[in-house]
Symmetry: C2
Subunit: 790 residues, 2 copies
């Protein structure tokens, strides 16, 4: 096995990749409350901002479809990106930083990913270029620093060409030019529209894209075609064929923001340039970008503001384990990803209801007030029937788009599932009595609304007692199982049982015995129906189609076993110990793959008219046979739930990208986020199996964080207290954690000791009965020692 | 002035461009009834086919928006195209034919455009490559021939790599692989969908893209990224870095169809390869493509069938003038473009009503039965109010899209305007009595329906007697003049007057005196209203906004004068001779530009809230200040109408691309079609002024053809007879024409003679009174001599 292609630095707060070719898809992302910037190690980039729907200011070279965020974004020479060409005026040297478009093999390379910034350092023939970016704290603006250093022993005369492609903006009013008065290349356009109403909706759009330069360039080019000429992007005519850029404009032509700085550097000398790349509305906004963001002090303030912003989402857990990689990821990157979801709502105005609730389940551990507001906001959109809508509208004028226009039946399930986490973390039972007024003006308390949601789940059952699936449940593309109104979902039936059970417990705790009994009985009925109709002998089936065909069962050649029903049967209690043993064995034998636990197996290779879009997703992508981390996280949660700590650790480990060189490279994934999937179909397509989607939008993050806090380190709220019940993998002899909980801090040492036969917990030196601290005092610092059997 | 960059060959039936860089945007197109292939001289291509909406089988490298056909399509390295790399196995030579992506300067180059085929011949260092394509006659399939010749004096060992990028097909089931059993690279996908209903609509789509090879290649590559590697498209790793392509596949990756043939050629030796590039549904269709299209005989039959198909649209006129360039264009390319419009309906399922009617006005001269059917079909969609819809639906399930969802008020105008041409050409007055049943089941004759349409126009007037414009008239983007329901269109008022006048004439001829009087009175009322409210002193204004502001008037700094009102004031008779003199002078002074007659001047440089989208189109593009050829053609028609033959010739000449080197290169336009616009704003933006849109969808073609037939050569049907009234430019001393007319043929010689004081027409040696042949005998061949004053 070769050396790891990437490494942690700064106590895990930076990840550094040393090659532009080892993992050419490797990416990270920066965000603030208004924008998102995904950066690829080679310099390609995708930026979005909200106005109020997601919009772009750097485009593909063709008119792009508006779509949801796609996994495995393909890159190509003219893909949007941020680059700097470097030409040696006294020799043949030409390269581009970070790597594309010239793709010259560098003498050294580092893609250094921080939590709030990204920097590249690229050296070719004695010239070192550093490109670094961070985002303005509360503005839509990329703040770029370019540094060039002469690492050779002679004076070097260079031309530097920051090259920020802008792409095909619009078929209306597209142009680009240098504006000396603004010190910027200003590319203009008008977002296309045909209906008059759209004009009023769009007229305040930030339809300009600008590159504002702190230093006056020696020359510039605003015309993409003129920049390239016959040479193409790898050797643009404007660079190789002429001394100076032509200072040309783009007039209804594809614009570009390219500058030229001519510089002579003595040995060891360094020069620094700063730029702001951003959308803008008009001249005044361009001037404001310059005034607000372009000085060295502005950059430093933005860095500090970013750090402060990220600090708000630093999470409630710091750990130290035998695996420093795991520590770095868990302490910095995982809470960061949870925070991104919860604070940005994935840069959408209509998050899927299940995503919105789960994302804010994660926020319960970071910033509980945000989670609380989200639960109330979601419930304010509950329908009169008790059903939850397919998406939660976040801004005035937003509408349900894409998949949210397709009816799914699982949204109610997530209310108690996510609420439980929030209540455990905060003890804020008062939330249950909060009144929530819906769009029809009907008022009801949170508890009453959840009652109604549970009753809706109970009503949406067929004569067997299983949940109708309509055009899908959590698995979006399973859109033809029940579109005719008869098909049912095994997973959803189990998830309903679990949700009902959780809610029954909360009702019982709150003294609502009748409701508790009703919901507990409902949960039991779901479990019984599953055991009667979808226990397939060694595992639970996935569902039954409109035509009465059970699927996800042993008789199927493809899609024979699905992971989700097994996980949730353990959570809901449908699986007794004997069934649990069988289904775990089936998962081990059929779903555990070299790249993680697959969501189903074998992957579909062709269309099954009664399953739907799922079967048309390529084997190995997304839901079809992939290691779909969200499902793997449910499985993880369920394994901890039944005390399978070692199995859980294996699943957890496989979900994360370790610096194991082979798997890391195969995945092409830096350990800076957990992606929504790794490709599956490992028997069918070993070449691509394991590859990361590079898509960081996923409910996985929140569940992983929950599992780490509540299960692996076992520091879970419980009524007024804290349950202390770590489930370390057996090969860990010790670990420690800092936990913030309801205003208190816990310093936890966990150790395996030879003489322990069961877990023993001391708090402040006193042995704790049942591992449960009955109450927690805010502001206090607790010292906890846990001894586990060896 | 340098030499012309392109030339006619084969009596004008081919146009040859000798450089890949002189006019890098130059393009042509091939089509059959099911598909369209636009080809750029450098090898870039855009193909569309109907299923039933326009679809693609070679894509951009990113998810593209579905849109109407865009002008000035920007090209970039990964744009779809058809290429062949050539590598010398014994030396450093690497080039690609036609030119991209390597862009090596060739030793010789020819882009040879035929009416039914396109061929490139490219030579580098003694290796000559010929690439040629034609379309299957009645199938969606490109038939490609690759020939390579050794023009050097030594044996050459080469690898040839046909490279057909397929691009980003879909986020569902995208893949590509060589299929030995089919002898093809087969790229698969599923057109994305989320709503169940779309599945049923799309499941028979041709979702594969295949490159079927007649000869077994030595190696292949189906993976775009693997093909390129670090080298990029100009020097792909798969070609420069290895002896053989890797025979790899694409699995949810961007696919490509690349083959490798290794060949040793003796001096003078030639090898030929044939390919079919096409979409397909399944294996059987791929096998059928091979079986039906791949042999040399199949190619020859396709060429013959294409020639036969094109012959159906050869038109009714052959001319010989002092200008052979003009002859070539008028005899072959112009009728071809008219035929394309009328036979393909622009590859749309909902053509704009005005386009549909005007395209079929052109068909009246080519294949009148098609024009007749189109008029009846359009009228079958007339609304109960008499209004015509914004688009005509051509297939079951089609719906109004894009601009056709925006209410425009001019559609009724085109009924008499186009009908007149049809009736003049065919004498088929029986059409007027044809019953037409509309969607509500109401039956009415054609004449009654046109009465209703005219009455609708008369109703849609404001208190001044001017036509409401709603969200636009012929000028689509003038969408805010009257969106509040009050604004009026000067042009539309004049067009209504003209339409009413034409229809009144037809009514009078048919003995419907009352209707004739009603409509003539209506026409007069429109003309009077225009003269009262929108005669601005030297020209007619364009309209009056919702807020009562006249625009297109001398008081305006931008958009001061519009061409259309002037043209139609001459047609409608609103302009008396004095006004006509003034408006012609105004057009000469303000709208005549070095690149043709602009549609308005000065171009708008900023938004005018009361005009609309027009002002947001970049100055020089499309309607905003461009030489918009459709408007120029109206002007041409109106000039002939008032006997301004020399002015007309200047306008006509400027609309076509002559082999004048400077202007031809500035336009970047081959004389194989007339584009919808040349850019304007010549004072503001001289660099780009004149540039062609490269968009061949335009009503210009039909109007130009009509002007050539009926006016320049003056061979216009008139009741039962033929009016012979040429309007040659004064510098032509002679010209001749062959004219097919109602089954007869006319051989016409026109000559200027010194002693003539007025035109004299002889038919069969007999002098014709008034230049009108009272009746025409089908099957007969007439010899016509016209003497014009010198």
């Amino acid at each position: 096995m070769s050396a790891a292609p990437c490494r942690f630095e700064a106590d895990g707060q930076r990840v550094v990749l040393d090659s532009p070719t080892a993992m050419p898809q490797a990416s990270t992302f920066l965000w603030n409350r208004r924008m998102l910037l995904q950066l690829n190690c080679r310099g390609y980039a995708t930026a979005q901002f909200m106005q109020p729907e997601p919009a772009k200011y750097a485009h593909a070279p063709t008119l792009e479809a508006r779509t949801f965020m796609q996994p495995e974004q393909p890159y190509y020479a003219h893909h949007p990106g941020r680059f700097c060409y470097v030409k040696d005026e006294d020799g043949p040297l030409l390269f581009s930083a970070p790597h594309a478009p010239v793709n010259r093999a560098p003498d050294s390379f580092a893609f250094s990913v921080g939590t709030g910034d990204v920097a590249w350092t690229v050296a070719c023939d004695g010239i070192e270029v550093e490109l670094a970016v961070l985002l303005a704290a509360d503005d839509v603006a990329e703040l770029w620093t370019l540094r060039v250093r002469n690492r050779s022993r002679r004076t070097r005369r260079l031309s530097l060409y920051p090259y920020f492609p802008v792409g095909y903006m619009s078929w209306m009013n597209q142009s680009g030019a240098w504006r000396a008065d603004l010190g910027a290349i200003v590319c203009q356009s008008v977002t296309p529209y045909q209906k008059v109403a759209d004009y009023f909706r769009q007229r305040d759009f930030l339809d300009r894209t600008v590159l504002v330069a702190e230093r006056m360039p020696d020359a510039w080019e605003a015309n993409q075609a003129a920049f390239e000429g016959e040479g193409g992007l790898h050797a643009p005519d404007a660079i190789t064929g002429q001394e100076r850029l032509s200072c040309g404009d783009a007039l209804y032509e594809t614009p570009v923001a390219a500058l030229q700085y001519r510089v002579a550097l003595e040995p060891g000398e360094e020069q620094e340039y700063r730029f702001v790349f951003a959308p803008a509305r008009d001249d005044a906004q361009v001037a404001a970008l310059r005034a607000r963001h372009l000085s060295a002090r502005d950059f430093a303030e933005a860095a500090a503001a970013t750090a402060s912003y990220l600090d708000e989402g630093r999470g409630c857990l710091r750990i130290r384990t035998p695996d420093p990689w795991f520590d770095g990821f868990a302490n910095h990157w995982l809470p960061r990803q949870v925070y991104y979801h919860g604070d940005s709502n994935r840069l959408t105005t209509d998050p899927q209801t299940r995503n919105y609730l789960q994302d804010h389940m994660g926020m319960a551990y970071l910033r509980p007030a945000t989670a609380r507001a989200a639960i109330l906001h979601a419930l304010s959109q509950q329908e009169a029937s008790g059903a939850m809508p397919d998406g939660i509208l976040l801004v005035e004028g937003a509408e349900l788009k894409y998949i949210n226009q397709v009816p799914h039946t699982d949204h109610c399930v997530w209310l108690p599932v996510c609420l439980q986490a929030y209540l455990d973390e905060t003890g804020d039972d008062a939330l249950l009595d909060e009144p929530v007024v819906d769009r029809d003006g009907r008022g009801a308390s949170v508890a009453e609304r959840i009652d109604q949601a549970m009753q809706w789940l109970l009503r949406q059952r067929d004569e067997r007692g299983l949940s109708f699936i309509a055009q899908g449940d959590w698995c979006d593309p399973m859109n033809m199982v029940g579109w005719q109104g008869r098909g049912v979902s095994g997973w959803l039936s189990l998830a309903s049982a679990h949700a009902l059970g959780l809610w029954a417990d909360i009702c019982a705790r709150r003294g609502r015995a009748a409701e508790a009994a009703e919901f507990r009985q409902g949960a039991q009925a779901f479990n019984d129906a599953m055991n009667a109709h979808l226990w397939d002998g060694d595992w639970y089936g996935r569902g039954i189609t409109d035509d009465g065909v059970a699927f996800g069962v042993a008789a199927d050649a493809e899609g024979r076993i699905y992971l989700n029903p097994q996980s949730w049967a353990m959570l809901s209690g449908a699986a007794d110990p004997q069934r649990r043993g069988r289904l775990l064995a089936a998962v081990d034998a059929q779903l555990v793959s070299p790249h993680g636990v697959a969501m189903l197996d074998p992957p579909y290779t062709g269309m099954r008219d009664d399953v739907g879009r799922l079967t048309q997703k390529f084997p190995g992508s997304a839901e079809n046979g992939a290691v779909y981390n969200h499902a793997a996280a449910f499985y993880l949660h369920s394994l901890y739930h039944v005390g399978e700590a070692d199995r859980a650790w294996q699943v957890l480990r496989a979900m994360l990208t370790w610096p194991d060189a082979a798997e890391c490279v195969q995945r092409g994934q830096l350990p800076v986020f957990v992606p929504n999937y790794y490709r599956g179909a490992w028997r069918l397509h070993p070449r691509t199996a394991g590859r990361s989607s590079q898509l960081f939008n996923t409910g996985t993050a929140a569940w992983l964080y929950r599992c780490l806090v509540e299960r692996l380190f076992g520091l879970r709220g419980d009524g007024a207290g804290l349950r202390i019940e770590p489930q370390l993998p057996s090969h860990w002899t010790r670990a420690s954690a800092w936990r913030r909980f309801r205003g208190a801090e816990f310093e936890v040492e966990i150790e395996r000791v030879a003489d322990a036969t069961e877990a023993r917990v001391w708090v402040g030196g006193a042995l704790l009965a049942g591992g449960r601290l009955p109450s927690v005092e805010a502001g206090r610092r607790y010292r906890v020692r846990v001894e586990l059997p060896a």
